[in-house]
Structure formats: structure tokens, C-alpha cells
């Protein structure tokens, strides 16, 4: 085959494959909005149950994300700097919830923190119940989405030269101060993106949540509920609105990637 024909063929294949994949991803979303998008948006005004479900979903996901950023960023740093003694084990622990079917995640949480467990009884003594409560929603969201944050944060941090932390230390910083002043500001955009991905994942979770908490209802549970009681006509608008809600983090992500220059803000 001549070089030119090879090139043409490669180009055609690339474009063809890309179009196919994009079509597969976008078409269902477009179809959904076409059928039910407008209804869904109008429902927002009249349907209090929908509004509260969306609010519950968004607020719980936000809190869970913030908690994970707080707890997970140090872990991500430890992983990025190879300071974890058994990295393979830790990484497996982080990846496992992503591989396990979602209802199984919910059941596993039940076994670990449910009423019948030691931990659950300890929680009950301070008034925290895992099932039928926001705690259950939060726990399920956290387990399925936190690993995404830690992995992505680890990648973002590892892209910052560790020697810079060392230089900062010779300039008088303790390790944590050095990380705070030098590493995290440079990893900021990656960390933000990681948080947004995690939030989106938490918002879309269903299987793990429904096992623990059916009431109060998050948006995904509500949409399934509406399907059972009202059929497609009831469920599609909720689904369409959920998709529109998901566009918010996407827009934020795009705003991040926009041409903010990679160099200095004048902060010290």
C-alpha cells in the first residue's frame, strides 16, 4: 500500500470511529431532551417533590465531595509521593468499590454499619442511623465516588515536581506548609476537576443508595419511582432534568480548561 493511501485510510477510520462513538454517547441524551426536556424544566416550577429530590441529591453530593476533598487529598499526596507502605493494597482498596455492582456496595455498607453491626450500634448510640436517612445516602455516594477523587487527585499531585517541596523546606517550611504553599496551588486545577468528576458520579448513583435509603428520595430513586407509578411519561422528565443538572458540573469543567495561563498568580 502506498503511503498516501495508508494515510487516507487511517484518517477515514479515525473519523469514522470517532463519529460512531460520539453518536452512541450523544444520541440518547438528545433523544431524552427532545422527548422530555421541556416538560422536565416546567415541572421544576410545579413539582415540589422533584425540587426537593434534586436539592437533596445536590446538597448531599456536595457535602460528600467536600468531606472527601478534606480527607482524600492528604491520602492522594501520600500515594503520589510513594509514602504509603503497601501501595498495591491501598490502591486495591480504592478501586474495589468501583468494580463491585452498586447494590452490593449498599449491602456491604449495611453489613459493616447497619443496625446489626458493632459499628452500627455505636452509631445508633449517637443517634446516627444508616438506613432511611441522609447518612445512608451520603455513605453510598461516598463509597462509589471517593475513589474517583483520590485517583485523580493523586495524578494531579504527582505532576508537581516533588523537589519543589524539598526546596520549600530548605526555605523554612514544614512538610505540610510546603505542600500547602507549593504543591497544592499547582495541582489546583487537577484537584478541582477531580472534585467535579466525583460530584457528578455521586449525583448519578442509584443502586447503592436505594438499598440504604428509599425515603427521603434522591433524584435517581424518584425517577425510578415515577417510572413504576407513572410510566415513561412520569420518569422521563425527571431524567431529563437530571441530565440538565449534570450539565452544570460539565460547564464548570470547561471553564477550568479555558485558557487561564499556566503561570503565576501573584500570590506568595
Amino acid at each position: 500500500m502506498t503511503r498516501r493511501r495508508t494515510h487516507v485510510m487511517a484518517t477515514v477510520l479515525t473519523i469514522g470511529a470517532s463519529c460512531l462513538l460520539l453518536a452512541l454517547l450523544l444520541w440518547p441524551m438528545v433523544a431524552l431532551q427532545w422527548r422530555a426536556g421541556l416538560t422536565g424544566v416546567r415541572l421544576l416550577a410545579s413539582d415540589a417533590e422533584l425540587r426537593s429530590a434534586l436539592a437533596l441529591t445536590a446538597s448531599t453530593a456536595t457535602i460528600v465531595t467536600l468531606v472527601t476533598v478534606l480527607l482524600g487529598t492528604p491520602l492522594a499526596w501520600l500515594l503520589a509521593r510513594n509514602r504509603i507502605p503497601a501501595p498495591a493494597l491501598v490502591n486495591a482498596a480504592l478501586e474495589l468499590p468501583l468494580l463491585v455492582p452498586h447494590p452490593v456496595v449498599g449491602i456491604a455498607l449495611l453489613l459493616a454499619f447497619g443496625r446489626a453491626s458493632a459499628a452500627g450500634q455505636a452509631l445508633a448510640s449517637i443517634g446516627v442511623a444508616l438506613t432511611g436517612s441522609r447518612w445512608g445516602i451520603a455513605a453510598a455516594m461516598l463509597v462509589v465516588s471517593a475513589p474517583l477523587y483520590v485517583s485523580a487527585a493523586r495524578e494531579a499531585i504527582s505532576r508537581v515536581d516533588p523537589r519543589q517541596e524539598m526546596v520549600a523546606r530548605t526555605l523554612g517550611d514544614s512538610m505540610s506548609r510546603a505542600v500547602w504553599r507549593v504543591t497544592l496551588p499547582q495541582a489546583r486545577r487537577g484537584l478541582l476537576a477531580a472534585g467535579i468528576v466525583m460530584w457528578a458520579r455521586a449525583v448519578s448513583e442509584f443502586g447503592a443508595i436505594v438499598i440504604l435509603t428509599y425515603n427521603p428520595r434522591v433524584a435517581s430513586v424518584l425517577s425510578y419511582d415515577r417510572f413504576t407509578t407513572n410510566g415513561l411519561d412520569g420518569a422521563l422528565p425527571v431524567a431529563a432534568v437530571l441530565v440538565l443538572l449534570a450539565l452544570v458540573p460539565l460547564a464548570l469543567l470547561r471553564g477550568l480548561r479555558a485558557p487561564s495561563s499556566a503561570d503565576a498568580d501573584a500570590n506568595a
Binding site: R163, V167, L171, A264, A268
Partner: protein
């Protein structure tokens, strides 16, 4: 001031040591040797940036072999500067100190003042080295480690900076350990000379004890150093492998 006793440092698969030598307080000591000998690694070990795997390291008479870098009071200037890219030049220079006024004064002294406010990515290699130097000096360390700090500077700037730093060193009594493979420069700036070969550090014959570099210039006969020795000016030609 700095004492190494059979210090062993690993850098990946590369192992330096056991190495033993001492650096007296208040002087300017140079360390020369071929590339890859481990000079940078040794400096990093002294600064606490790299872990010491064997032997002992004493600073100011105290065993700080495993002390954290921020507990050592040692400044280090890297060959390529290793500036913080998310801060501008001023942010870098004032990083280690709250006293931005003195940092600014230092910047002026070393000709880095015009760089203030510039972002790191726009700086040339030499400019970065200046910023890195000021950054380390701003903390007024009593021990300063220099790793080929002037290599990217043009000759005129190089000599001026060397002179200025030497002056500062004399004013403050700072202990300087200066790694370079430029023997002429080493001879001109340092009062004591160590040579490193195959992981072993030896004292070089001390010559030009009280020499002071005035300037570095070139004429029809080639490059030379103008040096003040014992009150008089001497011209020293620069040759490959000069050891005098």
C-alpha cells in the same frame, strides 16, 4: 561547621560515599570534580533534601544526619534554580522570609530587581539563577550551598555576581560550600578547595589563599582572570584543567 563522617547517600541506583570531609565556619569552600561524581547529591544530603543512608552529618557541631530540611538553617541554590512556577519572581524571592524589604534589597544588590513581578516562565536561565540565589539568601542562612549557581550567567554578570556574593559572605560570616567544575572560578572565589573523584573527596593544595577575584576578561591572548593577591593585582590565564 559542616562535618561529614563516612556519609553514604543513594540517588536511585547511584551511590555516593562513604565520604568524609569538613568545612570550616565562615569560609568559602569550593568542591570540584567531574560530572556525575555525586557533588549535587552530597549538597542535597547536607541540606536535608536527600536522605543519608550511612554515616553521620554534623552541622554546627550537632548531629543533624536525619534532621528535617527546615530544621537545618541551610540554604541551597540549584544549578537550574528550581523556582516555583506558580509564583512570580518576587513571590519566589520573598518566599522564605517575612521581611520583604530585605529581600528587595538583596535583589537590588544582585541585579535581580528588574525581574520583580516577572513570571517564571519568561525568565532566561541566568535570570532564574539570580532569582534562586536571592531566594536562598533572603533567609540569611549561615550555611549556603551553591550548585553551579552561575553557569547560565554571561561572563560579565558571572564575575560581578561572584564578587558581590563574596563580599556578602565576608560581611555576614556565612559558610559557603560551592560546587563547580570551573576550576578557575573556584580558585578565584574560594579560600579552601576540595576535589571529588570517584566518590572520594580530597583536599586540594591550597593556593591563592587570600586571592580575590576582581574580574574575568579576555584579550588577544585569551581569557584571563584579574585577581588581587596580597594587595597586588595579578593576571591569571584561564586554561583547561587549570589547577594553580
Amino acid at each position: 561547621m559542616i562535618e561529614l563522617h563516612d556519609v553514604v547517600v543513594s540517588a536511585g541506583e547511584f551511590r555516593v560515599g562513604p565520604v568524609s570531609f569538613t568545612v570550616d565556619a565562615g569560609g568559602w569552600t569550593t568542591l570540584t570534580g567531574p560530572a556525575g561524581a555525586g557533588k549535587t547529591t552530597l549538597l542535597e544530603a547536607i541540606a536535608g533534601v536527600r536522605r543519608v543512608d550511612g554515616g553521620r552529618l554534623l552541622l554546627r557541631g550537632r548531629d543533624l544526619t536525619h534532621a528535617a530540611p527546615d530544621e537545618r538553617g541551610v540554604g541551597i541554590v540549584y544549578q537550574h534554580g528550581l523556582l516555583f512556577p506558580h509564583l512570580n519572581a518576587t513571590g519566589n524571592m520573598t518566599y522564605g522570609t517575612r521581611d520583604s524589604a530585605s529581600a528587595t534589597a538583596l535583589a537590588e544588590r544582585f541585579g535581580a530587581a528588574p525581574l520583580a513581578g516577572r513570571s517564571v516562565s519568561t525568565l532566561s536561565g541566568g535570570e532564574r539563577q539570580l532569582v534562586a540565589l536571592v531566594r536562598a539568601l533572603a533567609r540569611q542562612p549561615d550555611v549556603l550551598l551553591l550548585d553551579e549557581p552561575f553557569g547560565a550567567l554571561d561572563p560579565a554578570r558571572r564575575s560581578a555576581t561572584g564578587i558581590e556574593l563574596q563580599t556578602l559572605q565576608r560581611e555576614t560570616g556565612m559558610t559557603v560550600l560551592h560546587v563547580t567544575h570551573d576550576r578557575a572560578e573556584a580558585s578565584a572565589l574560594g579560600s579552601r578547595h576540595l576535589a571529588m573523584q570517584a566518590g572520594v573527596v580530597n583536599e586540594r593544595i591550597e593556593t591563592m589563599r587570600r586571592a580575590r577575584l576582581v574580574r574575568r576578561a579576555a584579550d588577544a591572548e585569551g581569557e584571563y582572570l584579574e585577581v588581587e593577591v596580597d594587595g597586588g593585582l595579578v593576571r591569571v590565564p584561564v586554561q583547561e584543567g587549570d589547577a594553580s
